[in-house]
């Protein structure tokens, strides 16, 4: 046998000179959040130029509030998309959570916190159900969560009307525990001229935790793997089912957080609310560099995507334009972001 007598230096590698080291700019530009960062800067400059109130520092709080309500959901949705799935039921799931807390506490005359905890359990259960059904049936997440979307939408309307005879939950501001819950979910602090809602804090915390989780932990590695190639991930011992169900439950948790803010900010929840929001969350994630096919994306990017929405929503107002244009802008942003991301990926990565 010839191969037994090989010398170690025969294995000492000759560097393959066809593969050049990529220059630093190319590596930077191949980060998934680059497209969204460029977009955010452009939008910022645009509204700074055309909308006078946009330049007012006091409005920073309002803009960040708008961004945070989207961002709190865009972060888990981005994680889910990196994990190879997406969720169409997120918008109405937020409403479901708010309604559940409110209706339960009000109907049984309980402390508001009991309703809040029940809503948490329900939101996590909805997430787990989405994930479980998806893995059990092998259906695409589009179909499964489209089903959940319609079910929740109908249940929201139906149950609310059944219990209150109305389209909104009853006001719970005079009930036990409301004030303490409002402190947690709907308070605000004033820093100089800027009024900051507590959701901004939650948004920043969630983004930091999720970004850390995705890039610096074992779980993050698994999320990339189950989204990139579930079979390969399973073959090397990654618990694919648990990871995916966990991601859906994370979405459920954030839907609960958003729902609680909705409830304690306005004392009451409109049962028809939330329809259409799911697309905004998904678009924010896509602008942030998440691929619809999974396995690639960024939490920070999704948060920047949410910031773009926050700026645009109010920027259009401040500029005195007709807010009808917001949706058209949404679509345009989505297309631009996808094309830019695609271009950047091809250019920087696969060379």
């Amino acid at each position: 046998m010839t191969a037994t007598a090989m010398e170690p230096n025969r294995l000492a590698a000759a560097r393959d000179d066809r593969v050049a080291t990529r220059p630093l700019p190319a590596r930077l530009i191949s980060r998934p959040e680059v497209g969204s960062l460029v977009g955010a800067i452009v939008i910022f400059l645009l509204f700074m130029a055309v909308a006078e109130p946009f330049r007012n520092v006091a409005n920073v709080g309002t803009i960040l509030y708008g961004a945070s309500t989207i961002g709190i959901m865009a972060v888990p949705v981005a994680l889910l998309m990196v994990g190879g799935e997406f969720d169409l039921s997120t918008g109405v799931a937020v409403t479901t959570s708010g309604l559940a807390a409110s209706l339960f506490a009000w109907n049984f005359g309980l402390n508001v916190w009991v309703g809040v905890l029940l809503a948490l359990a329900l939101s996590l259960a909805i997430g787990a159900f989405n994930g479980w059904l998806l893995l059990k049936t092998g259906l695409p997440s589009f179909l499964v969560t489209l089903g959940t979307f319609f079910i929740l939408q109908g249940v929201n309307l139906g149950v609310t009307r059944m219990l209150t005879g109305n389209v909104a939950s009853s006001t719970i501001s005079d009930m036990d525990g409301f004030d303490s819950a409002k402190e947690i979910f709907g308070s605000e602090v004033t820093l100089g001229p800027v009024n900051l809602k507590v959701t901004v804090l939650y948004w920043v915390i969630l983004t930091s935790i999720a970004a850390y989780l995705l890039l610096r932990t074992q779980l993050g590695n698994w999320i990339f793997a189950v989204g990139g190639d579930a079979d390969a991930a399973r073959a090397v011992g990654v618990p694919v089912r648990a990871t995916k169900i966990g991601l859906f439950m994370a979405v459920g948790f954030c839907a609960w957080l958003s729902g609680m803010h909705l409830l304690f900010q306005f004392n009451t929840v409109q049962s028809g609310e939330g329809v259409g929001k799911e697309f905004i969350f998904i678009i924010a994630a896509v602008i942030g560099g998440c691929l619809l096919t999974g396995g690639y994306g960024s939490v920070v990017g999704a948060s920047i995507g949410a910031l773009i929405f926050g700026m645009t929503q109010l920027g259009i107002n401040y500029a005195g334009w007709n807010p009808d244009w917001f949706r058209a802008f949404l679509g345009l942003m989505l297309l631009l972001a996808t094309i830019v991301n695609l271009y950047v990926k091809r250019k920087a990565d696969l060379r």
């Binding site: 590698a13 190639d229 399973r234 696969l350």
Partner: protein, 291 residues
């Protein structure tokens, strides 16, 4: 196969080490399809066990059972003398069985080092943070030993060549495979030179004291490195022999179908003789034979 040598006898010149992994009459059925029947296989430490077989012979099912992807429905499997039944690839892995799959089990969009440590991440500190520096260093060392230098380990695996990907997958399995390593057709998609690199690496794994299971349909490659050969046919063991009992010619013939091939060859030669008579009739006949 009547000519098969069933049950290998211990070689006379040196005593056999006890088997690391032992399969005893293992079978696997999907409903009423018997994908694998009565497979007996001994994988010994410091030996290369070659499993040969044509497409559909049951090689993949056999790998699946050993690596924990499938459960077996008949027989018994023993690892280090202990009966075992792996519930998942993760369990098999932690028991010391590493597998390099034909599709390599690499995630294309993930970077080289993340793929290398996928499922076996090194963590540090209270927060169990990934120890990225250390993982990159180990990954680089292992790949260099394999003869591949990838200057940028953050590069996605999709941007590498087939040979480089194979090397990453094998280096990964060897790095984590404590006792038994299964290589599923590692040379099938490679050129001559890269096949040589892989075959050398198989011997390194053997010399490092691993039990190597080398799945292939290339008898030349198998004979270069193998100590023990098993040919699967239609889900059953058709030949089980040690190197001393075989020649390359014999292995090639057995692999290609043994007696059946001889019969076919005699038949085809006969037909060639008839050729001068009528070309068209022969053509039609051989088409029929194929069907």
């Amino acid at each position: 196969m009547t000519t098969a040598i069933i049950g290998s006898k211990p070689a006379t010149d040196h005593p056999e080490p006890p088997p690391l992994l032992q399969l005893d009459n293992v079978g696997k059925s999907y409903g009423n399809v018997h994908a694998l029947r009565g497979v007996t296989l001994n994988v010994r430490q410091g030996e290369v066990t070659c499993v040969l077989g044509d497409n559909g012979a049951g090689k993949s099912t056999l790998i699946g059972i050993i690596s924990g992807l499938h459960d077996y429905t008949e027989g018994a499997m023993q690892l280090d003398g202990q009966p075992c039944r792996f519930a998942s690839p993760r369990v098999a892995q932690s028991s010391g069985i590493a597998t390099v799959y034909q599709n390599l089990a690499l995630v294309p969009l993930m970077s080289v080092w993340r793929n290398f440590f996928l499922g076996n991440e090194i963590r540090k500190g209270l927060l169990r943070t990934l120890d990225i520096k250390r993982m990159k260093r180990i990954c680089d060392e292992e790949l260099r030993r394999m003869g591949i230098v990838i200057p940028d380990l953050d590069r996605p695996v999709a941007s590498l060549s087939g040979g480089q990907r194979q090397c990453i997958a094998i280096a990964r399995a060897i790095h984590f495979g404590a006792k038994v390593i299964i290589l599923d057709e590692p040379t099938a998609a490679l050129g001559v030179k890269q096949s040589g690199v892989v075959l050398r690496y198989i011997l390194r794994a053997r010399d490092a004291g691993l039990g190597v299971i080398f799945i292939t349909h290339n008898p030349q490659h198998a004979y270069l490195v193998g100590d023990h050969f098993v040919i699967l046919k239609l889900g059953q063991v058709a030949l089980d022999a040690r190197r001393a009992e075989l020649t390359l010619a014999r292995l090639t013939t057995e692999m290609a179908g043994g007696q059946e091939l001889e019969e076919l060859s005699a038949e085809l030669r006969g037909e060639t003789g008839q050729r001068d008579g009528s070309d068209t009739r022969t053509g039609a006949r051989s088409e029929q034979e194929e069907g």
